[in-house]
Structure formats: structure tokens, C-alpha cells
């Protein structure tokens, strides 16, 4: 299936709405999941299907079961939870019929997820089988049924549908669905009509006509979750790190910083060299601690990108606003001022915050000018939002890729959390849930090349703006 493009999304307020979620369908559509809500109810049919070698053999046998069930039961009993609710005699009769058609122990695995139902156990138990074998079989069936479009799942879903077919009214003109119902069992894999039938049947089976109760499915998955182990899978990325080149770049940067000390100090030099030294130090931290594939590396990349933009933006504004370097310093100092003032004046509690010294904060804030002359600005030093600054610095691509991606990490957005801290569990009985990566096994793509790319930009700034080569 081809996914919709961003252009096909509709912007409503601050949201982009994909086509399926747009009105008038969007507000009335209820998403009911095959794999999560309906599949467990039909595992019994899955086991019947699995006991047959071919689709033809299965449907030949299932035809008799369907006829029997539709004639015998006035109430629907396509779902396993409904079968479990039948009275003992009826249930035993049904089980006898299933055994007669499909074989004696055909539903043996399901006894571990039937709440120790007496009749189910008595009718199907295969004493030579262990509970581990039963559970393994169920996992195998879930896996086969999980993809609702697979041939196996479709056979099961078709069977579920025809068990309730005499309860559904079809409009006369709805010929495709009628054809699909009649002809699906005998339609072979290479028949071009098969896909059309599958689509029709799929939409039909998905509707829960009689009962919308997923208690059994919940119970089934809870049991399967607890009784089977997680199979966490980590993504492994190629290790093509240019570590040596990065170390060389860092050395080059250090050389340029040292060279810049020969230049007479002014606000511009202070700001540029200060920012670049900051970059140098955090890159060194990454190198010294080998953090190339860590979450920290993403936080560092975001900081470096923002520093590059700040410097480039300041340089671009310098001509019209020579005081912009001062403004940058004042803006930063005023941030420190606000913090220690709140503490001093008792409007905030600092007892729990131990990673800074408020005296140092005060000293630094008053370093350039007395706090009495230091304005506190609630807007950015340049009165521009971040995106605008990237555009004005002619670095929109950096914003769209580096900044946006790495911001997900610094803000703890879901994408970053999912990518870095949760592993996917490859056990279908666990609904492919996420597993907390407490052993820190998931590494991220190595960031060496990106650090080199950004350091090159910084080196260019040193060359162009400071004249240091």
C-alpha cells in the first residue's frame, strides 16, 4: 500500500491530518484491531486450519462444521469466548463434532488459555504433549494469523465470517461480497480474483456485528504475555566510524582556538571563541568517553548546530547592529541573573538543586555589568525564533534535519525515546510490544561523520570571521 504524502494531509490548526482521518469519515471511524482484539477469539479456527495440509482440505472439512453449527446453535458461537459460554452438553456435542471432522486432539494447545474449562480440557487434551509444546504451538498460530492479509489469516477470517453469515443481511446489489463468500474457498492462489475477494471479505469480517466484547482477547494476551519470554531485538548499524578524522579535526580546532588568542580581545572575539571552545569541549567529551552512538551525542549535536546558527546569525546582523555581540552576552547573563534572584528572594527552592553554585551564578551575571544595569529579556537576544535564525543564516537544511531530529532527543519526544530506549519484542504473542532497554544494548547510528561535518563549518567560521587559519 502506498502511503499518503505530506501534501495529501490537511492542515487544521496546528495539526496535519492524514486523508483517512479527515472528515466526514474521521470522526465516526472506530479502529478495531484484528491482531489485538479479534485474533485470539479465532485461534481455535487457526488450529483447525493448521491441522489441514491444504486450503481445499480445510474448507471441505470446515463446510460440515459450519453446517452443523448453523443448524444446531441459535446463538452465535464463532468466537471462542462464546463457545466457552455454551452449556456443558452443547459444548461437548460441538467438541465431539470438531473431533469427528478434524481429529481427536486438534484443539489441545488451547487448553492453556481456556480458564481450565472442564469440557475443553477433557475433550482435547493430548497427554503426550507438554505445556511448553502447547504454548509454542499457540505462538506459531498467532504468528501465522498476525498479518491479517496473509493466506492463513484470510482462511481463518473467512471461516469466522461464514459462521455468522445467516445473521447478516446483504443488499441485493452487493454482488462482489456474495461472490467472495461463495467462491473464496475454491479460488486458488494464482487467480486474479483472489485479491478482490480478500478485500471484500476483509472489510466484512472486520465488523463486529453482534458483540463488541474483547475480554477474552485481553485474557488470552495477558496469559500468553506472562507465559512466554520477551524476545527483544536490537538494531545493529554498520560501524563505519571516522574516529581518527574526528580526532584530527578536533586537534585542528584547538590549534585555531589557540591561534585566536593572538587577536585583540573584543566582544565579537569573546563570543565566537567562547562558543567554539564550548563546542571543542563537548566534542572532546564525546571522544574521550567514546559516546559516538549514545543519546548524549544527539544532545551534543543539537547544541553544536544551535551554536553554529547563533554565530552565523550574529555575524550576519553585525553590520546593521554592531552591539549585537554585547546583546548576546547580556542575554545570557540575564538568564543567570533570573535564576539566582529567584533563589535569593525565596520565590523558588534551591535545596534539591545541587549542580550549580548560586554564588558563582551571581558573580558571572555581574561580571560584565552590575545586575542593576542588566535588563532581563523574555525574548531571544535577536528577537527571532529558532527557525527564522536558521533561515537567515542560510542553514535551513540544518534546521530541517539535524536540529529537528536532535531536538526530539533533548526534549524527550516519543520518536527519540522509542528509537533509543525501547527494544521491539519479536514475540507475536506479546503483540510486538516494546521492552525497556535497561541493559543499554541499543546503540544509535554513529555520529562521527556528522560531528566532522559540523566541525568543518565551525572551522570555516574561524577562517572567515576571525581570520584564523
Amino acid at each position: 500500500m502506498k502511503n499518503s504524502t505530506i501534501k495529501q494531509h490537511k492542515q487544521i490548526g496546528k495539526e496535519l491530518i492524514p486523508p483517512f482521518m479527515q472528515e466526514p469519515i474521521g470522526s465516526v471511524m472506530h479502529l478495531c484491531s484484528w491482531s489485538k482484539e479479534r485474533l485470539p477469539e479465532y485461534v481455535w479456527i487457526g488450529l483447525l486450519r493448521d491441522s489441514c495440509i491444504s486450503k481445499t482440505e480445510f474448507f471441505n472439512k470446515f463446510y460440515y462444521l459450519k453446517q452443523y453449527m448453523l443448524q444446531t446453535f441459535s446463538e452465535p458461537c464463532d468466537k471462542f469466548s462464546l463457545i466457552l459460554k455454551l452449556d456443558s452438553t452443547k459444548k461437548e456435542e460441538l467438541y465431539d463434532k470438531i473431533k469427528e471432522i478434524f481429529g481427536n486432539n486438534v484443539l489441545d494447545p488451547i487448553i492453556v488459555v481456556s480458564n481450565y474449562d472442564k469440557e475443553t480440557r477433557k475433550s482435547f487434551i493430548d497427554k503426550s504433549k507438554s505445556n511448553n509444546q502447547r504454548i509454542d504451538k499457540l505462538v506459531d498460530i498467532i504468528e501465522k494469523m498476525y498479518d491479517r492479509h496473509s493466506d492463513f489469516a484470510m482462511d481463518v477470517r473467512y471461516s469466522a465470517l461464514i459462521l455468522k453469515i445467516n445473521k447478516i443481511y446483504f443488499p441485493k446489489q452487493d454482488m462482489i461480497i456474495k461472490d467472495a463468500i461463495q467462491k473464496y474457498p475454491s479460488t486458488q492462489k494464482d487467480d486474479p480474483l483472489l485479491d478482490a475477494y480478500k478485500i471484500s471479505l476483509s472489510s466484512m469480517e472486520g465488523m463486529d456485528f453482534f458483540e463488541n466484547n474483547y475480554e477474552y482477547s485481553k485474557y488470552f494476551y495477558e496469559e500468553m504475555y506472562l507465559m512466554t519470554d520477551c524476545k527483544p531485538k536490537k538494531l545493529i548499524y554498520p560501524e563505519n566510524s571516522n574516529k581518527e578524522l574526528l580526532i584530527d579535526k578536533t586537534k585542528e580546532l584547538k590549534k585555531l582556538i589557540l591561534k585566536s588568542e593572538e587577536i585583540k580581545a573584543d566582544d565579537k572575539r569573546d563570543v565566537i571563541i567562547g562558543n567554539i571552545t564550548y563546542v571543542y569541549k563537548i566534542v572532546k567529551e564525546i571522544i574521550d568517553n567514546e559516546l559516538y552512538t549514545s543519546i548524549t551525542s544527539r544532545l551534543v549535536l543539537r547544541t553544536i548546530v544551535e551554536i553554529i546558527i547563533n554565530i552565523k546569525f550574529l555575524c550576519s546582523q553585525e553590520k546593521d547592529n554592531p552591539d549585537i555581540w554585547k546583546a548576546f552576552k547580556d542575554y545570557g547573563s540575564s538568564k543567570y541573573k533570573m535564576i539566582y534572584k529567584r533563589i535569593e528572594e525565596g520565590t523558588t527552592l534551591s535545596d534539591n538543586c545541587t549542580h550549580f553554585d548560586e554564588v558563582i551564578l551571581k558573580l558571572l551575571a555581574n561580571e560584565i555589568k552590575s545586575e542593576e544595569f542588566l535588563k532581563v529579556s523574555f525574548k531571544d537576544f535577536a528577537d527571532k525564533n529558532v527557525r527564522q535564525k536558521f533561515i537567515e543564516a542560510d542553514e535551513k537544511d540544518l534546521y530541517d534535519t539535524y536540529y529537528d531530529y536532535d531536538t526530539c532527543f533533548s526534549h524527550g519526544y516519543w520518536g527519540a525515546i522509542r528509537e533509543s530506549s525501547l527494544l521491539i519484542c519479536d514475540n507475536p504473542a506479546h503483540n510486538y510490544h516494546s521492552v525497556a532497554d535497561t541493559e543499554c544494548e541499543q546503540k544509535l547510528v554513529n555520529c562521527c561523520d556528522d560531528l566532522i561535518f559540523l566541525l568543518d563549518k565551525i572551522i570555516s567560521i574561524m577562517n572567515d570571521e576571525m581570520g584564523v587559519k
Binding site: 480440557r121 497427554k127 503426550s128 505445556n131 511448553n132 504454548i135 496469559e223 506472562l226 519470554d229
Partner: protein, 337 residues
């Protein structure tokens, strides 16, 4: 987390109590064991997560059938102040119950009922999670085949080293000695008897006597293996012993807690395996200290034994200065007395 483990153990007793109310048939016993097995499976995640954080408080008791709260086996546990993880006793009998054609159900019933009574005696300890039941198979099932393979590999290495021979595989060794009787094996490999230790065997026993002693412990009918050659019996016994030791080591690694073993032959074969990492080394050394503690305390009345708050320090110091279990025993005798 501990509340969840306790909740599971309460459910365990509910199942047992419900079962005990009735006159039970063969199918009822089978259902009981299925219920227990599935309950322990459901409890596995909680136990592994719990031990991830609390492994230093627990020991895994392995290598014997039952843990008896009233016997001297409890003494090292009391001394160390630790809690204990045990293989659930009923499930050990499941394979025998399933093979009901070969076993007399009335006899099985007796054994199962006595196992239930034994468990009921531990009720208080189970309900405050001082004792935790697990089904070890749930932890090692997927690697059972590898455990067997490792046991075969280490068997041939052990035999090669001690008999000063050089075989690549146990099958080759069996092939070359398949026609020999026990007596002829003794003659060809005089050291063989000295390196085989089955449960309750004594140094004075012959090779054959030791093997038979092992069958008695495992409940194997010696009549059924009368056609198996002597060397095959020796090798099967070695593989069984190394397999058991390696299974215990694997469980110790998975649960991240030391083993508490009281049988000398089990600790001996356990010590033949190399350490997986530093944590494994620490756990195995502690297992040796616990084994030595049992030797020192096994004649004491459980009421006389008290928790020793220096237990951790004792383990550390013994691990540093002692080289053998005899050293541990001698040092511990001084401390205990």
C-alpha cells in the same frame, strides 16, 4: 514486586488447598500439575525482574530433591541471612506421572501427596517469600541441548586430562573401549574410578558400585540398562553429572544468585567449569563457602544457628585466602566455634 511474588505463592496454596479437599483421580493430579506449571510460568517475569534488583539476598538451592525446613540444611541459610529459591517439588514428578504406563499410579500418588505435605510445611516461608518456588525448566528449556553438548565436551576434556589420553569426542572413546567390562576398564584406566563421584558413593567403592549407586539415586532400574556396555554407562554417568552441574551454573547465571549445594559430588563437578565473568566467579566462590558452611554446621541443631552479620566479610576473606573446600571448612570451623 515482592507483593506480586507473594500473590503468586498465595495462588499456589489456593490451588493446592482446593486440590486437597477432594478425592482425586489420575486426571486431577495431571490438572493440578498443569495449573502449578502454568502459574510458575506466569510468575517467571516477576521473579527475574525481582532478582535483577535483589539477587544478593537469595540463594538457589540445587542438586537435591527437597528442601526441608526442619533439617540441618537450613543452617547455612540462617547463618548467611539469605532467602532461598527452590525448584518446585511437584513438577519434578510430572514426567513420571505422564509415563503412567511404567509407574504405579498409587505409588506416584503417595509420592505426590508427600511432596504436597512437605510444601505445606514451608507455607509460612513461601507466603513471606523467604522461600520462592520456581520451575528451573522455564529458565533453561531453550538451552537444554547446548547444556547437554557442553556436558559431553567437558566430559571428554575431563577424561583426557585425568587419564592422560587425547580423544576429540566421547563417542571415539566409547568406540575404542566398548567391549571392555568394568573390571577391564579399571585395569586399563586405573585412575578412572578415582575421578568418578556419584551421590553417596565412597572412595572405597568400585567403578561399577559407584555407577549403580548413581542409578539408585536417579531412580533408574538397573535391569533396563543391563545390555548397555560398561564404558557407555560410565560416560552416561559423567555426562549426567556434568550436565547437572552445568544446569545449576546456568540457573545461577540467569538468576544472578549463588548456588547452595549440599552434595559433595555436585560441587566437585561444578568447580570444573571455567568462570563466565567476574560475577560468576564471585557466585561460585560463595557457593563453595556455603557448601563448606553446610559441612561445618550440618550437625548443629537449627535452633542453635544464628545469623552472622559478618557473613559477607567472611565470604570475601575466604575467597581471597583459601584454595580448596578443605581450607574453607577449616577456616569456618574457627569462625563458627
Amino acid at each position: 514486586m515482592i507483593e506480586n511474588i507473594i500473590a503468586y505463592q498465595i495462588e499456589y496454596f489456593e490451588i493446592i488447598n482446593e486440590f486437597k479437599k477432594n478425592e482425586n483421580t489420575y486426571d486431577d493430579y495431571l490438572l493440578l500439575l498443569d495449573k502449578v506449571e502454568l502459574l510458575l510460568k506466569r510468575n517467571k517475569k516477576t521473579i527475574t525482574n525481582f532478582l535483577e534488583l535483589n539477587n544478593s539476598d537469595y540463594l538457589y538451592y540445587g542438586g537435591a530433591t527437597y528442601f526441608d525446613n526442619c533439617s540441618m540444611e537450613i543452617n547455612p541459610v540462617t547463618f548467611s541471612g539469605k532467602k532461598i529459591i527452590i525448584s518446585e517439588p511437584l513438577l519434578k514428578l510430572l514426567p513420571f506421572l505422564k509415563l503412567n504406563d511404567f509407574f504405579d499410579f498409587d505409588r506416584m500418588k503417595e509420592i505426590l501427596d508427600s511432596a504436597i505435605d512437605n510444601t505445606l510445611k514451608l507455607k509460612d516461608k513461601l507466603l513471606d517469600a523467604t522461600v520462592i518456588y520456581i520451575n528451573p525448566n522455564d529458565y533453561i528449556l531453550e538451552i537444554k541441548e547446548n547444556i547437554y553438548k557442553t556436558a559431553r565436551d567437558i566430559t571428554i576434556q575431563y577424561i583426557n586430562k585425568n587419564l592422560e589420553i587425547n580423544y576429540n569426542d566421547v563417542d571415539d572413546f566409547v568406540h575404542d573401549n566398548n567391549v571392555l567390562s568394568f573390571e577391564e576398564l579399571d585395569e586399563k584406566y586405573p585412575k578412572l574410578n578415582n575421578i568418578l563421584f556419584t551421590v553417596d558413593s565412597t572412595p572405597k567403592m568400585s567403578l561399577k558400585e559407584k555407577i549403580i549407586q548413581g542409578y539408585i539415586d536417579c531412580g533408574i532400574d538397573k535391569e533396563k540398562i543391563k545390555d548397555v556396555s560398561a564404558i557407555e554407562q560410565v560416560i552416561f554417568t559423567f555426562i549426567g553429572l556434568f550436565g547437572q552441574a552445568f544446569e545449576l551454573k546456568t540457573i545461577s547465571i540467569i538468576l544472578k544468585c549463588p548456588l547452595y549445594i549440599t552434595r559433595p559430588n555436585v560441587i566437585l563437578y561444578l568447580n570444573c567449569f571455567i568462570y563466565v565473568d567476574e560475577d560468576d566467579k564471585k557466585r561460585i566462590l560463595e557457593s563453595n563457602v556455603l557448601f563448606a558452611l553446610y559441612q561445618v554446621l550440618k550437625r548443629k541443631n537449627p535452633e542453635q544457628v544464628q545469623y552472622n552479620s559478618d557473613y559477607k566479610k567472611i565470604v570475601e576473606s575466604l575467597s581471597k585466602k583459601c584454595n580448596s573446600i578443605d581450607d574453607y571448612v577449616n577456616e569456618l570451623k574457627k569462625i563458627v566455634n
